[in-house]
C-alpha cells in the first residue's frame, strides 16, 4: 500500500520536524534573552544598545569581507564544537580539546614544512596526521577512564596543558626559523595549503579572500559526525553508553571500548581543527596560535545541545560575536567585553535547562487539562 507507506513517512517527517522545532526553541530563546540582557548592560554603562548591536551586526555580517571573516572565525569552532559534542554524546566531558588541537596542528604543520609531494597526496596526508595525533592525545585519558575510571575532566585537562607546553617548546626550540624572531615554524609548502575559496569558486567572490576550503571540510565533518551518530551502529553504541551504560552493557555493548573510541574521535576532530587552521589560514604553526578554540568549543557544543549539525550555526554565532565585537569596539566605542557578557549569559541560559523544562511542563499541564475536559482517556504511566 504505497498510500499508507507515504502517510507513515509524512507522519515521521512531521514528528521529526516538530522535534527539531522544539529543540531549537531553547537555544534560540537563550540567544534572544542574552541579547536583551546585553542591551541592558550596554545602556547601564551609558552606551546606546541599538547602535551597538547595529555595529555588531554590520561588522559580523554585512559586506563580503566582514562575512568571510566571521565564517573564517567559526571554522576551528565547528571542529572543536564537534569534538566536545561527540564526547558528550558518550557521556564524556572532553575539556582538553585545546591541547589536542595544538598537538594535531603541530605535527601536521611540521610535516607540511618538510614534504612537497603533489597536493592530492600532501593535503590528505597532513589532515590524517593532524587527526591521528590529536586522537592520540586523547587516547591516554580514554584508557585511564576505561580501566581505572579516572575522570576525563581531570585527565584531558592535564593532557591539554602538557600538549600546549610541548608544542610551545617544540615550536620555539626545534621548528622556529633561527633567522627570524617570530615564534613560529617555517611556512608549510605550497602543496600542503588548502586553497582559498576565490580560487575554487571565483564567481562567488568580488575580491580575493582568505576564506579557504577548510569551511567545506568543517561542514563535511559535521555531516559525517551526524551520520556516524545517528545512522551507524558505532554511533548507536556511543549514544547508548552516554544515555544508559548499564542497559548498553546488557545489550552487548562494551562500555570501555566505546569510551576509548569516543575520546579518540573527539581528539581527532580537535586535531583536525588545528590542522585546518595551519593549512588554510596561517600556513605555519605559531606558538599559541589557538585563541582558546578548544574552550569555546565547549560553549558551542552546549549551545548546539550536542547536535552535530547544530554545531554549525552555534559556531557561526560565536565567530560573528568575536568579529562583530571587534568592529563594535572600533567604530561605536563599545568595549568588546560586552561580547563576553553575551556569551556568558547564553551559556548560563542554555545550562539552565531546568528553567525551560519547568515552563514547558506548565504549558503541557495546561493543554492536558483542556484535553482531559474533553473526556480523552489516557493509559496511566508507571507510578512514581
Amino acid at each position: 500500500m504505497p498510500g499508507a507507506a507515504g502517510g507513515a513517512r509524512r507522519r515521521r517527517i512531521f514528528v521529526a520536524a516538530k522535534r527539531v522545532g522544539l529543540s531549537l526553541m531553547q537555544p534560540v530563546a537563550s540567544v534572544i534573552i542574552a541579547t536583551v540582557i546585553g542591551g541592558v548592560v550596554m545602556a547601564a554603562f551609558g552606551f546606546d544598545p541599538f547602535s551597538g548591536y547595529a555595529g555588531l551586526f554590520r561588522y559580523a555580517f554585512l559586506s563580503e569581507f566582514n562575512f568571510t571573516v566571521t565564517v573564517l572565525n567559526s571554522i576551528p569552532l565547528i571542529f572543536t564544537g564537534l569534538a566536545v559534542a561527540f564526547a558528550f554524546r558518550c557521556g564524556l566531558f572532553n575539556i582538553g580539546a585545546e591541547g589536542q588541537l595544538m598537538v594535531g596542528s603541530l605535527f601536521a604543520g611540521w610535516l607540511g614544512t618538510l614534504i612537497s609531494l603533489p597536493m592530492v597526496i600532501t593535503v590528505p596526508l597532513l589532515l590524517i596526521v593532524g587527526a591521528v595525533t590529536g586522537a592520540l592525545w586523547a587516547l591516554l585519558p580514554g584508557i585511564l577512564k576505561a580501566t581505572t575510571g579516572a575522570h576525563e575532566v581531570i585527565t584531558t585537562m592535564m593532557m591539554s596543558w602538557i600538549g600546549l607546553y610541548l608544542t610551545s617548546y617544540l615550536v620555539k626550540n626545534v621548528l622556529m626559523d633561527p633567522r627570524t624572531t617570530l615564534p613560529a615554524s617555517n611556512l608549510i609548502s605550497e602543496q600542503a595549503r588548502l586553497l582559498t575559496l576565490n580560487r575554487v569558486l571565483p564567481f562567488l567572490f568580488r575580491s580575493p579572500t582568505r576564506l579557504h576550503l577548510g569551511v567545506v571540510l568543517a561542514v563535511l565533518a559535521a555531516v559525517f559526525i551526524w551520520y556516524l551518530l545517528t545512522r551507524t551502529s558505532l554511533g548507536f553504541e556511543v549514544r547508548a553508553v552516554g544515555s544508559n551504560p548499564f542497559a548498553a552493557e546488557a545489550g552487548g555493548v562494551s562500555v570501555r571500548r566505546n569510551v576509548i573510541v569516543a575520546l579518540l574521535i573527539s581528539g581527532a576532530l580537535a586535531g583536525l581543527g588545528g590542522t585546518v587552521e595551519v593549512m588554510g589560514l596561517h600556513y605555519r604553526v605559531y606558538d599559541h596560535f589557538s585563541a582558546g578554540y578548544g574552550f569555546t568549543g565547549i560553549t558551542v557544543a552546549l549551545l548546539a545541545k550536542n547536535h552535530p549539525l547544530g554545531v554549525i550555526p552555534a559556531a557561526l554565532l560565536f565567530g560573528a560575536l568575536t568579529n562583530g565585537g571587534a568592529g563594535m569596539q572600533l567604530k561605536a566605542g563599545i568595549p568588546i567585553d560586552i561580547v563576553d557578557v553575551l556569551s556568558g549569559v547564553i551559556i548560563f541560559l542554555v545550562a539552565a535547562e531546568e528553567l525551560f523544562n519547568a515552563l514547558k511542563r506548565r504549558q503541557e499541564k495546561r493543554s492536558l487539562l483542556s484535553r482531559s475536559m474533553g473526556g480523552a482517556e489516557i493509559d496511566g504511566r508507571s507510578e512514581a
Binding site: 551502529s233 548499564f246 562494551s254 499541564k365 492536558l368 493509559d379
Partner: protein, 518 residues
C-alpha cells in the same frame, strides 16, 4: 463505561477519618487521578487495588503531601485541609511507608526512627538513650520487634519495614499508608506483617493498604476500592466480594487466574552452571559455588528472598559480571570467558530484574530500544550503517505482536508504563529467538493482565524448546510455572525440588534460611 459500584454502607454511618473528594492529578501526557472519591473509617484496613499505573500510589502521595492535587478536596477528621508537604501530613497524623524504604542505611534503626523529631538532653545534644527507650516502648505497645542498635544496612528487609512503620508511629501517625508492603517480603514475613497490621487497627489506627495482589487484599482488608486508569470503579466490603469480581473490576475483563501449563517432556541439557562463584559490587562473594543445569523446554525456577545472590546469578549467566571461578557451559561449549555479545550471539537472552536500568535506554525511542543487542547483526546493520527502515518495521511489528500500548514507536521508552516497558523488553528478547532465556522478576510490579501475558509467553517459549531460568521473589509465580525449583539462600542452592509436588512450606523455610546447613 461509568460502572460505579457502591455496595458498602454510606460513609455517614461510620466514623470517617479521611475523606478525599474529586481528587485529580495530571502529569505530562497522563491523567494519573481522575476525580477520585475515597474515605477511610477509624480502625479499618482499606485496600486500594489496581493495576500498575492505575493511580493508587499517586492518590496516596497526594494524601501524604508529596503531590499537590490539581483538583479536589481533602478532609481529615471532618476538617478540610491543604497538605503541601509530608511534614504537614505528619502533623495531621498521616504516615506513609513507601514501597522503597526511605531509611538512611548507615544509621541505626533507633536513629532512623527518631530522625526529624530527635529527643534532646538538657544540653540540647541528641539523647540517644531516650530515643532507644521510646522506641522500645513503641515496639512493645504495637508488637513490632526491632533491634534499635542495628544499622539499617545490616537489618533484614522485614525489620527495615517494621522500622519504617515505627518511624511513622513515632511521628504520631494515626492514619497509616502502606504502599505495596508485601512486595519485598518472604512468605513468613508477610504473615508477620499481617499480624502487625491487624494489631495496629486494634490500637485505633486506620490503614490504607495499597496492593495489586488479590490474594492479600481479600485476606487483610475490611473494604477495598478498585482503581482503574485513574478512576474509582468501585468500593466494596471485602467479605461480600470474590477474587474473580475484584479481578474483573481491576482489569475491566475476565482474567484467567490459574496458569494453564501443558505437560511435555524436556529435551536435552542446554545450559550447565558448575560451581559458579560471583562477587557483588563491593567485591564480596555473593554467589558461593552454585551448580545447576537447564534443559530445552524446561523452566527452572530460582526461588529466594531478594538479595541472596539473584542479581549476581542473572548477571553472571549473561556475562555482565565476570565469574571468580566456576564454569558455564552452553551445550558442549564453555562460554565462561565470553562477554555479553558472544553469549547473545550464541542464543542467550536476558529479561533483567531492573528493567529501567538494565533493560532499556529510557531516552531512546522504542525502535532504538528494539535495536539494542541487535546493532551488530544483519539485517539491522549493513555495510554503511544501520537500516532504520528495517529497524522501524521490526519495532512496529514487535509493538503489535506484544501489544505494547504506545502512541507510536517514535516516543521514548520513558513514556511507557511499567507493564508496557516490560512487554517491550520481552518483545526484543523473545523475537531474537533465544535458546536460553534468563527471566529475572519478569512480572514484578505488573498488573494482572500483563502478568498473564508474560506467563503465557514464557510457556510458549517452553513449548518451543527454549530453556528458561525464571528468577523470582514471588513463590506463587515459581510454583505455577517452574518444572524444577532451586532455592537460593545467601548465595547457595539450599534446596532443589521438582515443580510438581513442591511443598510451599518447605520452600518458604528454605528461602528464609530454615534449611541452611542441613
Amino acid at each position: 463505561m461509568e460502572e460505579h459500584i457502591q455496595t458498602s454502607r454510606g460513609p455517614e454511618s461510620a466514623d470517617t477519618v479521611v475523606r478525599l473528594t474529586g481528587i485529580s492529578k495530571f502529569f505530562p501526557g497522563v491523567v494519573a487521578n481522575d476525580r477520585i472519591d475515597l474515605d477511610l473509617r477509624r480502625g479499618e484496613i482499606h485496600a486500594l487495588l489496581g493495576e500498575n499505573g492505575a493511580g493508587k500510589t499517586t492518590v496516596m502521595n497526594v494524601l501524604y503531601g508529596l503531590y499537590e492535587p490539581d483538583a479536589g478536596a481533602i478532609e481529615i477528621e471532618g476538617r478540610q485541609v491543604r497538605i503541601p508537604s509530608p511534614r504537614t501530613a505528619l502533623g495531621l497524623g498521616i504516615g506513609m511507608v513507601h514501597q522503597h524504604f526511605m531509611l538512611i542505611q548507615k544509621f541505626t534503626i533507633a536513629e532512623n526512627v527518631v530522625l526529624g523529631h530527635e529527643p534532646h538532653t538538657r544540653a540540647r545534644t541528641l539523647d540517644l538513650r531516650e530515643a532507644r527507650r521510646r522506641l522500645r516502648e513503641l515496639s512493645d505497645t504495637f508488637g513490632l520487634e526491632v533491634d534499635p542498635d542495628r544499622k539499617v544496612m545490616e537489618a533484614s528487609v522485614g525489620m527495615q519495614q517494621r522500622a519504617e512503620i515505627l518511624k511513622a508511629l513515632y511521628a504520631g501517625a494515626k492514619i497509616l499508608i502502606l504502599d505495596e508492603p508485601t512486595a519485598v517480603l518472604a512468605p513468613q514475613e508477610v504473615d508477620d506483617l499481617f499480624g502487625t497490621v491487624r494489631s495496629l487497627t486494634k490500637q485505633g489506627l486506620s490503614i490504607f493498604f495499597i496492593s495489586h495482589k488479590l490474594e492479600e487484599v481479600t485476606e487483610i482488608s475490611d473494604r477495598v476500592t478498585v482503581i482503574r486508569r485513574g478512576r474509582v470503579v468501585g468500593t466494596l466490603d471485602t467479605p461480600s466480594t470474590t477474587k474473580r469480581e475484584l479481578a474483573q473490576l481491576m482489569v475491566g475483563r475476565d482474567v484467567v487466574l490459574q496458569v494453564e501449563k501443558e505437560e511435555h517432556a524436556a529435551g536435552k541439557e542446554i545450559l550447565r552452571v558448575e560451581d559458579l562463584v560471583v562477587r557483588d559490587q563491593r567485591g564480596l562473594t555473593a554467589l558461593k559455588g552454585v551448580s545447576f543445569a537447564v534443559r530445552e523446554g524446561e523452566i527452572l525456577g530460582v526461588a529466594g528472598v531478594d538479595g541472596n545472590g539473584q542479581i549476581e546469578l542473572e548477571e553472571g549467566i549473561i556475562g555482565l559480571r565476570k565469574s571468580a571461578s566456576g564454569r558455564i557451559l552452553f551445550g558442549e561449549e564453555d562460554i565462561t570467558s565470553h562477554g555479553v555479545r558472544g553469549r547473545i550471539d550464541r542464543g542467550l537472552g536476558l529479561v533483567p530484574q531492573d528493567r529501567q536500568k538494565r533493560g532499556l535506554v529510557l531516552d531512546f525511542d522504542l525502535a532504538e530500544n528494539i535495536l539494542l543487542g541487535n546493532q551488530w547483526k544483519r539485517p539491522y546493520a549493513r555495510l554503511l550503517g544501520l537500516d532504520y527502515d528495517y529497524i522501524r518495521a521490526q519495532a512496529r511489528s514487535a509493538v503489535e505482536e506484544f501489544d505494547v500500548r504506545t502512541p507510536g514507536i517514535e516516543v521514548s521508552a520513558r513514556t511507557l508504563s511499567g507493564g508496557n516497558q516490560q512487554k517491550l523488553i520481552l518483545a526484543r528478547e523473545i523475537r531474537r529467538g533465544p535458546r536460553v532465556l534468563v527471566a529475572a522478576q519478569p512480572t514484578r510490579g505488573l498488573d494482572v493482565g500483563s502478568i498473564e501475558f508474560v506467563h503465557s509467553r514464557l510457556l510458549e517459549l517452553r513449548a518451543k524448546g527454549v530453556g528458561i531460568i525464571l528468577i523470582s521473589y514471588e513463590l506463587e509465580e515459581i510454583l505455577s510455572l517452574a518444572d524444577r525449583i532451586i532455592v537460593l539462600y545467601e548465595g547457595e542452592v539450599v534446596y532443589q525440588v521438582a515443580g510438581a509436588g513442591a511443598a510451599r512450606e518447605t520452600i518458604g523455610l528454605a528461602m528464609t534460611g530454615g534449611l541452611a546447613g542441613e
